[in-house]
């Protein structure tokens, strides 16, 4: 089979499967989920064949442009329907289809009791197809199609249980935040058209790298691309949707909101490397956004008692690392992607573990009502623990190879400006420590310490009441919700095999993937896309950085051990410091958004409505009234009397004759 056809099939197979599942509807209820799994697996096989094909080529020949035909002609702009198979896109393809297939398998069991399981798989397939289109597109415009497709799939899946209003609202919130980012991508494409006359990767990147476009244009394009990336990857200031997106079924959180879609922003920045390389200012902003987000997510993660929301905050923080690395330029691109891949494995594993815990605990997510689960969920605790070690960056687990490299890269001075190295290096170091704390907190609270799920309802309520006065409203609501979900006398049980095995495979990836990729030269493999980076010395020597990182991680881990294993974990959340309360409320992101955007937006739309009613409608109605009124007046002339009709006619004759004769004279 030709490579063109293979590349096209990669996207077409899951898309066709989604179409079959949606169009045939209930007829496919019995076997639809297996079709979904099969489609995803088939895409993985095709991806693997393409990857082997690329591996068999020389490094320079590893970019395969596939043109499927002319998409449209619009005046001077002609866009081809083209795919680009190169090391970067094939890496994504393998990640998406491999993790995706595992999560499909997991979902077969996880969604077993849901009446709409077939629809769920249709959306998952739709997501896979859109994500593959996103990473395979050879122009920003086609990328945008995939970009919107994953946004749609994400929206549909967050609100999958939309009979619950809160979940539907969460889906809408994600959609709106993403739309803001999408505008960035649209404007960026407009700028590209203005500056280079094209939206194809080849043309735009050649123009950017060749100096045909001024730095000002590149900076503008870069910033707009960054806005798009912020929306999709939940980076500050468009981070607010990710926590709420946990309303979706847990496999969705694992696939879309941890492993793949949310990393599309990083992909976009890395893919646009030539643009950012020519715009140092935009790069600096990328780094700042990444740094801010990584701290932001870490702080929020420390305070959340909701297992999934804590993991979501962690995802945000980890993507902050990737974004920061991508902003560092050629020295960081490869590590950003490297971390993206390892993160995709261990974070998906962690989420699937969380799903397994929820499966055992009647869908509860309140970590304060967990504890001591290690005894009951033996497979889950081991796989979750391996993922935990990986995200901590403990050698030799995956995160050590990817995250520590980012920390090293952050310590490299840019353009001979050591202050940047010190600032961003310190931030990443701090982030590593905080990450260790909150991930250990999460791990310990869930699996170790005294079991708290069988605390009698009355006692829990009393504890809740004691703490109620000092609590924030948000935490109160979640606590009340959680205690409602609990019934005394739980018997936690391990998940079925279909859920266990994906977790085991991902855990294996969390253990070995970093080492394997690091030793097989993953960063060199990406060089056709990311460019070769000259080795530069960080401001501190590498062993020092590694030692400092491990010390920070160790400190975080020990602190978490002291607070959450040695000390008793209260069932009701303590009041906490102002920082804790702020972090529980996501650092007041919603309040800020309400004040800065929603309020003025409402005022503006309210004003527009008033203006529309009074000015626009008023004018239209006024014109209408005027017309009808003058009609009513004019019809008085139509009296029904022949003499007046004849008089009108005569008057007309006289006037016309008079006009003509006057013109003559």
């Amino acid at each position: 089979m030709s490579l063109d056809l293979l590349a096209a099939l990669l996207v077409a197979v899951p898309l066709a499967s989604a179409a079959v599942l949606l169009v045939l509807g209930r007829a496919t209820d019995r076997w639809g989920h297996w079709l979904g799994v099969l489609a995803s697996a088939a895409s993985f096989v095709i991806g693997a064949v393409l990857a082997l094909e690329l591996l068999g080529r020389d490094a320079e020949a590893r970019v395969l442009d596939v043109t499927l035909g002319r998409w449209f002609d619009a005046g001077q702009l002609a866009v081809d329907l083209g795919l680009r198979v190169d090391p970067l896109s094939i890496t994504f393809v393998l990640l998406v289809t491999f993790v995706g297939t595992l999560i499909h398998v997991y979902s077969v069991a996880y969604m077993e009791h849901d009446a709409s399981r077939r629809r769920f798989f249709a959306y998952l397939n739709l997501f896979v197809a859109a994500m593959l289109l996103l990473v395979l597109a050879d122009s920003y415009l086609l990328l945008f199609v995939g970009w919107e497709g994953v946004g749609l799939a994400s929206y549909l899946l967050i609100g999958f249980w939309n009979h619950n209003t809160a979940y539907a609202v969460a889906g809408k919130k994600a959609f709106v935040a993403n739309r803001v980012g999408d505008i960035g991508l649209i404007v960026a494409m407009g700028l590209m058209l203005a500056a280079t006359g094209s939206v194809g990767f080849t043309q735009v990147h050649a123009a950017a790298a060749g100096g045909a476009v001024s730095e000002g244009w590149l900076t503008a394009i870069g910033l707009m691309l960054l806005l798009a990336a912020c929306g999709k990857s939940a980076q500050v200031p468009l981070q607010s949707w990710l926590g709420d997106a946990m309303a979706g079924p847990t496999p969705v959180s694992a696939l879309i909101h941890a492993a793949t879609m949310v990393t599309a922003g990083v992909y976009l920045v890395v893919r646009s490397a030539p643009v950012f390389d020519g715009a140092p200012t935009a790069q600096l902003v990328v780094v700042v956004v990444g740094a801010v987000t990584l701290v932001y997510g870490a702080v929020v993660g420390c305070a959340k008692d909701d297992l999934k929301k804590a993991l979501a905050a962690s995802t945000m923080s980890q993507i902050g690392y990737m974004m920061l690395a991508a902003g560092l330029g050629p020295v960081g691109y490869a590590y950003a992607i490297f971390h993206l891949v390892t993160h995709g494995f261990f974070k998906a594993g962690l989420f699937l573990g969380a799903g397994s815990v929820m499966h055992a605990m009647a869908d509860s997510v309140d970590m304060r009502r967990f504890g001591g689960l290690a005894r009951y969920l033996k497979v889950t605790v081991v796989t979750f623990g391996l993922g935990w070690l990986a995200i901590l960056g403990v050698p030799p687990f995956a995160g050590f190879f990817s995250k520590d490299k980012i920390i090293e890269a952050a310590f490299v001075p840019v353009d001979g400006q050591p202050w940047r190295a010190w600032v961003f290096g310190a931030v990443t170091l701090l982030g590593a420590g905080v990450t260790a704390f909150y991930m250990s907190r999460l791990f310990f609270m869930t699996f170790f310490g005294r079991p708290r799920w069988d605390v009698p309802e009355e006692e829990a309520r009393a504890a809740t009441a004691r703490a109620a006065g000092a609590r924030t409203a948000g935490a109160n609501a979640s606590g009340a919700h959680a205690s409602g979900a609990h019934a005394a006398g739980h018997h936690p049980h391990e998940a079925p095999a279909l859920m266990r095995w994906p977790m085991i495979v991902l855990a294996a990836g969390s253990v070995a993937l970093g080492l394997v990729l690091a030793t097989t030269g993953f960063t060199t493999w990406l060089e056709p896309v990311t460019g070769h980076a000259e080795h530069e010395e960080p401001v501190l020597s590498v062993p020092v950085i590694t030692t400092l990182t491990l010390l920070a991680v160790g400190a975080g881990l020990v602190l978490a051990y002291l607070r959450y294993v040695r000390d008793e974990v209260p069932v009701a959340a303590p009041a906490g410091s102002p920082l804790t309360r702020a972090a529980r409320a996501d650092l007041y992101q919603d309040a800020v958004n309400d004040a800065v955007l929603v309020g003025p937006g409402r005022a503006l739309t309210g004003g527009l409505v008033v203006a529309d009613r009074t000015a626009v409608d008023g004018a239209a109605v006024g014109v209408g009234r005027l017309a009808v009124g003058s009609g009513a007046l004019a019809r008085r002339v139509q009296t029904g009397l022949v003499r007046s009709y004849a008089a009108t006619t005569l008057l007309g004759v006289v006037v016309l004759a008079g006009v003509v004769l006057a013109l003559q004279a």
Partner: protein, 566 residues
Amino acid sequence: MNGFTAPEVAWGALSPVLVVLGAAVVGVLVEAFVPARARRLVQVVLALLALLGALVAVGLLWGGVERTGGTAVLGGSLVVDGPALVCQAVVAVLALLSLLVLADRTRAGQGAIAPSVATVPGSEAERLAREKGLQQTEVYPLVLFATGGMLVFPAAGDLLTLFVALEVLSLPLYLLSGTARERRLLSQEASLKYFLLGAFASAVLLFGVALLYGYSGSLRYADIAAATATPSPLDGLLVLGSVLVLVGLLFKVGAMPFHSWTPDVYQGAPTPVTAFMAACTKVAAVGALLRFVYVVVPGLQWDLAPVLWGVAIVTMVAATVVAMVQTDVKRMLGYSSVAHAGFLLTGVVALDERGVSGTLFYLLAYGVATVGAFAVVSLVRQGRSGGAQLEAADLSAWDGLARRSPVLALAFSVFLLSFAGIPLTGGFLGKFSVFSAAVDGGAWPLALVGVLASAAAAYFYVRVIVRMYFTPPADEALPADEVLLVDDATAGSPSDAATGTGATALGTAGTGTLVAARPAATRTAVATSQGLTAVTVVVCLIGTVLLGVLPQPVLDLVGSAAVFLP
């Protein structure tokens, strides 16, 4: 004296006119010699055959005209060229469609025409005629005579022929307007008004003819046009004469301020006759106007253009505005027809070939939709079930028609949309072609006013669609004590001022009809007819849509027929 020299007559070129007028004469003889029972059938068949024959004759002439550009017949009195033939063909087609509506009757044998037109409304004689089932079959020859005049009107090559054709087409129409079976007083009043005002307009035209003859010493268009080339001290006569002739034609076209007969006559005349009048007269009159403007007075366009511009603008704007406040369907369609006269004038004013072809296309699209619309009006009736049913004149009776009769409602909607100039209907392309011709001819302000007026006109067209589809019908059965038998004496005169809302609206109803205190309470129904009207509605519906979707063949045809023989 050398004795009589027979003039050279090209009988072939006259054949469309001869067929129709000949059949009309035969029709008069039929009245005299064929037994009463068979008359209607014979007359209908004869009329249909005559109109088909005219159509065939036009088709046969077409090839020659396309080759030679046309010929002048009878020493130039009649001109057979592209525009003339297109107008004749359109008139023949529309007359054919109208005739089907006219010939249609309900299952009970009731047609649109009074059993005996000469009886006094409300008299014993009328009742007797009704009971005996008399039929006034003279209407068919009358229609043929009128059609004959309409065939000559756009082809007239001199002013005297023009005047004769005008009278030949007008006199039967005056009579036909007074023949309605329902609301007879209204109908007779319309007839008289039409006659008086028509005579007045004919006099104006004749005065203009006299002035033009005084100026040029000839009645031939070609001679007058040649005389305008050289300046003369009598130019005042020329200009005044042209204006008076134009006024006479504009009266027939129904342009403001010479339109005042239109709503009253459209409302009073039997609906099939209204359809015939609104469609065919407009075609013939606009055809004659085109020829006069393009052949006789092109040298005067700087003098006459302001007149035509003013008339066009006033017509478009005022007619649209007045149409908005109408509550009677036929009056609304009447004012709509006046507004269309304004739109047609923009094509006339363009003064180039595209203006001619655009106007011709517009005429066809407008005519098809008009006949269709009035055909639908003739089918929608209100009144007590089992009792006498009147045409549903008041718009309120059209509420919720779509539920009772979805096909009729759909057809009427399509015709209204075509009037409004909505894309995918013939009306849109018609408007588009005249407006674009006007813009090309430098008359963009006219086109602008036209577009704005079309937009405003959409209001009253769509309002009817909203009534048919989205307003629930007032469906209560009519309580017996609210039904009054009104005397003719209380019947008001047809005028905008009298047809307000409420009981007065139906106060204009004729003899022996049921009038409700609340007109909305009468039940609207669809008449079950013998099906001829349905044929017309379907043909018009298909035609309207085809003209909107696949207009190219017709556009090509009128495009190749846009040159007048000088």
